[in-house]
């Protein structure tokens, strides 16, 4: 298995760095399926009853845990495995991520055949979650090293794949299930097996074509900026030292608050648009709105991360928080004047900034902590996503329910939530404002830099 080692992935002369973003996309387009897992939920409630659920069938509330476990394990594995990913190299990480991700589908298929939900939790939730965590961070530092001139654009391209993965997985899963569903059988397990095989091949192709640059490599004609920028370090910070800095935790809150504001909306987009514009939006149109949000989530990842290369990471987040605050405050107004177009426009911009937050943060970490451990530090930062995955939906769902229980019409039940989201973004703005350069006592010393990474404690 030595071909997986970092030493076997060093690019030879003549290798084009433009091979690396497709390698990263092979991983992110596959693991982005996680956002589309809900297409299996309804069919999985009819595995025994076939045409309708029976009391022995799985409940939707129980099935919701599959995604929650996977996202939780994503955060934990990204944090714990980050250093291993960094030191083992991208090919080993991508290979392992592909194996875990595919195993997750295969084990889940067994769970569906045996009608045992715990096996599905183990498969998709645990194995799939580990594949998600390792896969998500695996190409980040490699891309940053290949594109020192455009780190935002490079990581934006990869993380864009995570947003785009659901757009492929959703229609593909529906098509696969239709192929295998008969009058007496729901084709979920077969669809899982097919997806597992497809994703394994795709992710291993990514692992095969990825390369790391030779030491000292730089793009042709590239010269590092001569004018010092206080917010772009030329030093490296060791992963566990980075966790001791206020900058890490401020960026953690910046990401968490940005994601909290977006994730709650993503989860509730379909009922929200139907309830705020009663009689104007059909179920099919609401599904179209959700699809449009996915598209802008993906495009925002590339657009904002690329923009951050020109205006700086801090200013990019200032844009997210300032524009986001105004737009969230504007949403209740769009409902009261009945402007569906303005409502859609507001959320498309908001969701583009949600995606942009994910895609810009690796370059922000690189600016703060250097390139050496950026993948591992990014792994720890992903826990902000897990936390936001709890905060966001809880805020949207519970506040809406509280409003309705207190007699507020459904069309206005989201107004308070929108103002709270705007408030959260103001806090995010302040956290971003407080981010300064990392104190030089955290920088790695020359002897530590010379030491092999694995030898460090």
């Amino acid at each position: 298995m030595s071909f997986l080692d970092r030493s076997h992935t060093i690019a030879g002369p003549g290798f084009s760095r433009w091979m690396v973003p497709p390698a990263a996309l092979c991983i992110h387009l596959c693991i982005g399926q996680a956002y589309a897992i809900s297409v299996f939920n309804l069919p999985m409630t009819k595995l025994l009853g076939i045409s309708q659920s029976t009391p022995a069938d799985w409940k939707l509330t129980d099935l919701g845990w599959i995604f929650s476990i996977a996202i939780f394990v994503l955060g934990v594995s990204a944090a714990l495995m980050g250093r291993w990913v960094e030191e083992g190299g991208p090919r080993k990480a991508m290979f392992t991520a592909g194996l875990c991700w595919a195993l997750g589908f295969f084990i889940s298929a067994i769970g569906v055949y045996a009608h045992n939900l715990w096996i599905v939790y183990l498969g998709y939730g645990i194995f799939g979650g580990i594949g998600l965590g390792i896969g998500y961070i695996s190409p980040v530092s490699t891309l940053i090293k290949w594109f020192p001139d455009r780190p935002g654009m490079a990581t934006g391209m990869a993380i864009m794949g995570f947003g785009g993965g659901a757009m492929i997985a959703s229609p593909l899963s529906v098509w696969l299930m239709a192929r295998f569903t008969t009058a007496t059988h729901v084709g979920v397990a077969e669809a899982f097996i097919c997806l597992g095989i497809i994703y394994l091949v795709f992710m291993w192709v990514g692992a095969a074509i990825v390369r790391v640059p030779a030491p000292g490599w730089a793009p042709e004609g590239y010269t590092p900026p001569t004018v010092a920028d206080k917010l772009i370090t030329r030093n490296d910070v060791y992963v566990y030292d980075a966790l001791k800095t206020p900058q890490f935790w401020l960026i953690w809150w910046v990401l968490c608050l940005n994601v909290t504001a977006g994730i709650g909306v993503l989860g509730q987009a379909s009922p929200m648009i139907q309830e705020m514009f009663p009689g104007h939006v059909s179920v099919a149109a609401a599904a179209g709105f959700v699809g449009l949000l996915s598209l802008f989530n993906m495009l925002g990842r590339f657009f904002w991360a690329s923009t951050s290369d020109f205006i700086g990471r801090k200013n990019t987040y200032f844009c997210f928080f300032a524009i986001g605050t105004v737009l969230y405050a504007l949403v209740p107004h769009t409902g009261s004047v009945g402007s569906l177009a303005l409502f859609v426009l507001c959320f498309l911009v908001i969701i583009s900034m949600y995606g942009g937050g994910f895609a810009t943060v690796p370059a922000y970490l690189r600016d703060m902590f250097g390139t050496r451990y950026v993948g591992a530090i990014h792994g720890w930062l992903i826990t902000a996503w897990s936390a936001a995955g709890i905060f966001g939906p809880v805020l949207v769902n519970y506040i809406r329910q509280y409003q309705i229980d207190h007699g507020v019409p459904k069309a206005q039940a989201y107004n308070t939530t929108m103002y709270i989201m705007a408030g959260l973004l103001v806090i995010g703005f302040i956290c971003n404002f407080m981010i300064k350069a990392v104190n030089q006592r955290y920088h790695m010393k020359a002897d530590a830099l010379a030491q092999p990474a694995a030898a460090r404690g």
Binding site: G14, M167, A287, G288
Partner: protein, 41 residues
């Protein structure tokens, strides 16, 4: 001469790699846009 051949071979590889990820992504985007059109109907 050898360099030119290597360059052209690498360009082909880059094109194939982008096609490998770009074609499924384009298909997904088209499917999404077809569904999204329903909001304006």
């Amino acid at each position: 001469m050898q360099n030119a051949t290597q360059d052209s071979s690498m360009q082909t590889k880059v094109l194939l790699a982008w096609g490998f990820v770009g074609i499924p992504l384009a298909w997904g985007i088209i499917q999404t846009l077809i569904n999204a059109m329903k909001i304006f109907q």
